[in-house]
Symmetry: C2
Subunit: 244 residues, 2 copies
């Protein structure tokens, strides 16, 4: 049995996230249907992350076991003929039999976009959070540094999930402004549920003066969800890179 | 009676172009409905250009006559509450009574995007023409120069329209590549029906070797539609600037 690793990209606007669920169209289900049309079998596809409704992926890795004889380098083009235009497979490889796209992921990078202008940009409505109050980038950059390193991020997680530990390591975080678009990029060994969106919402609160950047370290250490900012909306979030 | 000049932006994906028509939703109709909700009257809105189905506008100017007492600086925000998220008004001004957004336009800039890569980009599907054959940018830049100046562009126009003259002046044209995105920018005193899309399709033919860049001047002078390239699809086209 082959263990096939796929690298895909998707615009999450029309989907209820990655993971299959009743009564809602998800990326996993659409991809499994495409594999079925191609390979005649319907293997469960394991994803590297459970993205939420409206969240996008510039790079998403998943894997599935199948007997198909289609060579790996022919798979992307073959799969794409059965995929809608907002999901695309860009690479397929034969992986080791123990490769697991979620458990084997060592680092992930997420990017969050805030469109900071008086009016929303019609071309960014589904790809950025429109925030009309002027944001202070210097303050956001200063506050972002507090996230670096190993911390218990329980104060930056939505409830309703179970994990062994809420300790995560952030290797890199940056806040850049280009025109009216603010890009927050976070590289970590893993992320709790809604963690990047809460980081983005908290940095927006810093940017508009609701949170003092000097308090950021204290807010993280408090492990108190109520001291962090709001959960930024899903449309601004992109899974950008997965490292193995 | 006031003559109100609006500057709007729209994502044309969902619309059958600017101009109102039976049995199809257009930007003009949606904008007129929003003005009706706001001003209680339904004036005809005159647009600076008749964009086609799927064509976008980063800047589009239109005007209408109305008695409303809403100050111009309050109009954008008021109108936007009645507009869908893919159409936005960014500016409103009281114009002279003889201002006409189409007849008074002196220059327009259109931008055409080609996404030149093996696979389409899921985030560019509605905003660029996916062209998978490798394009030679140098050849396209060389050929583009032939469009500069005053020419009879009848060979670069779709049939089925009436204009007084098919002579137009191109003031500026550029072809740039950024990653896998090719941007063709054209500034002219006016454009014939489908002219920018035919220029883009012809430059793509130059880029893939079907047309020799040295033949470009001759092709333009021939006034023969059959010698130019194909009409590039609408989704790559943006009206970018209008000058008065």
């Amino acid at each position: 049995m082959r263990n096939i690793k796929l690298t895909i990209k998707y615009d999450g606007t029309r989907y209820h996230g990655w993971q299959s669920q009743q009564n809602a169209v998800t990326v996993q289900e659409v991809l499994e249907n495409a594999i079925f049309k191609l390979a005649g079998a319907r293997p469960r596809v394991t994803g590297c992350s459970r993205t939420d409704t409206g969240v996008h992926a510039e790079m998403f890795v998943c894997n599935f076991k199948a007997e198909t004889t289609i060579p790996a380098d022919k798979l992307p083009l073959a799969l794409n003929t059965h995929l809608p235009q907002d999901i695309i497979c860009i690479k397929a490889e034969d992986a080791d039999s123990d490769f697991h796209s979620r458990y084997c992921a060592k680092k992930k990078r997420y990017t969050y976009y805030i469109q900071n202008s008086q009016f929303p940009d019609v071309f960014k409505v589904n790809y950025a959070w429109h925030y009309s109050y002027k944001l202070d980038i210097d303050a956001m950059q200063k506050a972002a540094k507090a996230f670096l390193g190993e911390h218990d991020f329980i104060g930056f997680a939505a409830s309703g999930f179970t994990v062994k530990t809420t300790v995560r390591t952030i290797y890199d975080i940056s806040v850049e402004k280009n025109g009216d678009l603010i890009k927050i990029s976070v590289l970590g060994d893993g992320f709790l549920y809604n963690m990047v969106r809460i980081i983005a919402g908290t940095l927006a609160f810093v940017g508009c003066g609701k949170i003092n950047p000097d308090d950021m370290e204290d807010i993280i250490n408090s492990c108190d969800r109520k001291r962090a900012g709001i959960t930024a909306p899903p449309e601004g979030l992109f899974l950008t890179e997965v490292f193995y």
